[in-house]
């Protein structure tokens, strides 16, 4: 197809970063192993070679410093893209993310701008165990002043990252470690995904399945299987958690009258609860059944492969969730 090329999610992110760095000299990268090493997940390979060490900065292991310096740089005219190797390590930088970057504009009465992107990856399935596998998007979802991006495909990753870099607000750009190798068709050139715009990944009339990040792929697999049983699922991928495309979700529920929310994060306090509440508030008369959540149980992620796998909402578990509301 002209104007499109098959790329991995990692390659799409690489392309987005390069294009934005070429376009705007104020954009720069900083993070652990992002330069010489090309990134712990090989996402930033070649970027140091193209742009040089002033704009691609390998840092010490210093997450609070990484995000804090990036915040200060963003406040004063630069457009940093800071990387946290694992979103779990955001814990070390939370003051700068939550108390500083998210709040400076508001506390200063609107005079400050913090055009900061913090890229990180999350998710389980590689045996990295409890401290390297969490899905923590709900924490950032809960902080006014942050935008939160969870791309599920290569095309979305490219378009959302470009939008995030051009946006004048702090964006938590949350990738998934098991999506980096997943290929997809990616538009060439200046492909932008608008802020706050979700996407119907698969249309259907019988049930709305809201899914995020890697779970979109399992939801689509479940939808394939269920189609064979005569059930048509509409898979809705919000893409941005903040701003959340509630209208897209509600519009879908008004059509299907049933809603299942799937996320890899643990059930308690996950975004599924917020989405369920919004669907109830905005579409209650349309619902034939309570909103169902398919999530990880409230447990840390164990090392053992089977135990770990049991936590992740599989296509089978999602299908079971759909059958429960139909």
């Amino acid at each position: 197809m002209p104007g499109m090329a098959e790329k991995t999610y990692a390659q799409a992110i690489n392309e987005a970063i390069r294009e934005e760095m070429r376009r705007d000299p104020k954009v720069f990268l900083m993070g652990e192993d992002v330069g010489v090493f090309g990134g712990a997940f090989k996402v930033t390979v070649g970027i140091l070679e193209e742009f040089g060490p002033e704009r691609v900065r390998d840092t010490p292991i210093s997450e609070l410093g990484i995000v804090g310096l990036a915040t200060g740089a963003a406040l004063t005219g630069s457009r940093p893209v800071a990387e946290l190797m694992y979103l779990d390590f955001a814990c070390l930088a939370m003051d700068q993310i939550v108390n500083q970057a998210a709040k400076l504009r508001y506390m200063f009465g609107g005079k400050a701008r913090v055009p900061l992107v913090v890229r990180a990856q999350q998710g389980s399935g590689r045996g990295n165990a409890a401290q390297h596998s969490q899905s923590l998007e709900a924490w950032f979802f809960h902080v006014p002043g942050l935008y939160v991006a969870l791309p599920s495909t290569a095309a979305d990753a490219k378009g959302m990252l470009k939008t995030a870099i051009r946006n004048d607000n702090p964006v938590m750009f949350i990738e998934h470690k098991l999506l980096y190798a997943v290929k997809g068709e990616v538009p060439d050139g200046d492909h932008l995904v608008p802020l706050g715009k979700g996407d119907v990944k698969r249309p259907g009339r019988d049930v709305t399945v809201v899914a995020t990040s890697r779970m979109v792929h399992f939801a689509l697999q479940a939808a394939e299987a269920l189609a064979g049983e005569g059930m048509e699922c509409e898979v809705v991928d919000p893409r941005w958690l903040v701003p959340l495309d509630t209208d897209l979700i509600v519009e879908s529920v008004k059509k299907t009258h049933k809603c299942v929310v799937v996320h890899e994060a643990v059930e308690r306090g996950g975004i599924g609860g917020e989405i369920a509440a919004q669907v109830m508030e905005k579409a209650f008369p349309y619902l034939d059944a309570p909103v169902k959540r398919v999530t990880a149980p409230n447990a840390p992620i164990p090392f053992n492969e089977k135990l770990e796998a049991s936590m992740i909402p599989s296509a089978e578990r999602i299908a079971a969730g759909v059958r429960a509301v139909l």
Binding site: S62, V67, G68, L69, T76, P80, N99, Y106, G109
Partner: protein, 332 residues
């Protein structure tokens, strides 16, 4: 390293009369602003956080005297002195303390978050040491954008033991960032004595751990603070990297309003009041023919009127509209 140390052991700089008078006026402005804020707080006209800078004027004014207008500062919860010393406007500050729409932050920040981006005041900060990484980042930005600006980051003795201190100094050192870290050691965090909380006798000793110069200044001697900050700022502007300056000083008031101050003796406070930085600078000015009691009183009277006008402006200003809760969360 020794060469760097020599560079910051500056001899007494020649202060022009104009510069000296400006510095004196700023010290008085800080003092009278803070005394007025204290009074208004005790009369329940101000609310929330109020951490007074009284007694520490030598540090803020001495340090900021070494800066250009487009240089950056970051400040602390005890930030009124820094903001005034960097050119902050007292009427906009007072309006902010009263939570008014005309305040620096539209009444949405309060005392601990006053900022004036146009004057390079990148904010007071309510998190101890929270602004050191931000200052280092501003310095990084200046380097990347080739602006030649220097960032000065104020913090207290209480902030010398926490993570961001170490991470910021290390980053600034390895990347030779044009930032000067100024520790205002007033001997107490809230009630915790510096020597009980800190493994070294001087915060400046920690500079060696980051291979940068560490300098101790007499925080109550504004000329000493000015000289040492100036040397550090010039070093930074030459591209030679950061410096840690520790200004030994003392706050005459409690940590915040209502602090019972049961952790320090009245004798100790009196001892420090005798070396009030403003009185000391008056002696300096007198001895060099740069000031007289009449001249000092004139400045104080003028400044009192200025503060009166600031209070009047603030009291006559409107409150922000209720829907301001939901504005300025994001830039569009």
């Amino acid at each position: 390293m020794a060469k760097a140390m020599e560079a910051v052991k500056a001899a007494e700089p020649a202060l022009t009369a104009a510069k000296a008078h400006e510095m004196y006026r700023l010290m008085v402005r800080v003092r009278l602003f803070e005394e007025r804020a204290r009074d208004l707080y005790m009369r329940n006209i101000l609310r929330g956080a109020l951490h007074l800078y009284i007694g520490m004027e030598g540090v803020a004014v001495g340090a900021c005297a070494a800066l250009r207008e487009d240089d950056y500062i970051t400040s602390t919860h005890r930030g009124h002195g820094h903001c005034i010393a960097k050119g902050g406007r007292t009427e906009l500050m007072m309006a902010e303390l009263m939570g008014k729409a005309t305040g620096y932050c539209k009444g949405k920040g309060g005392s601990m978050h006053i900022a004036d981006m146009d004057r390079g005041i990148l904010g007071a900060n309510g998190i101890v040491c929270g602004s050191l990484p931000i200052a280092a980042g501003a310095a990084l930005s200046s380097k990347l954008l080739n602006q030649g600006r220097v960032a000065v980051s104020f913090f207290g003795d209480g902030g010398a033991n926490i993570g961001p201190f170490h991470e910021s100094l290390n980053f600034a050192a390895i990347w030779k960032l044009p930032v000067v870290f100024i520790c205002e050691n007033n001997l107490y965090a809230i009630s915790t004595k510096f020597e009980q909380a800190t493994a070294v006798p001087n915060v400046a000793d920690r500079a060696a751990g980051y291979n940068i110069p560490g300098v101790v200044a007499n925080g109550n001697d504004i000329v000493d603070v000015y000289a040492k900050t100036r040397a550090a700022v010039e070093r930074a502007r030459r591209g030679e990297g950061p410096t840690l300056v520790e200004a030994k000083t003392y706050r005459f008031e409690g940590h915040n309003m209502g602090d019972p101050q049961n952790y320090r003796s009245k004798d100790e406070v009196e001892k420090w009041r005798k070396i009030d930085p403003i009185l000391r600078f008056e002696d300096y000015l007198r001895s060099r023919g740069l000031g007289s009691d009449d001249a000092f009183q004139k400045v104080q009277a003028e400044t009192t009127q200025e503060i009166d006008r600031a209070v009047e402006f603030a009291q006559n200003s409107p409150e922000p509209a209720l829907d301001e809760v939901m504005t300025d969360i994001y830039a569009n």
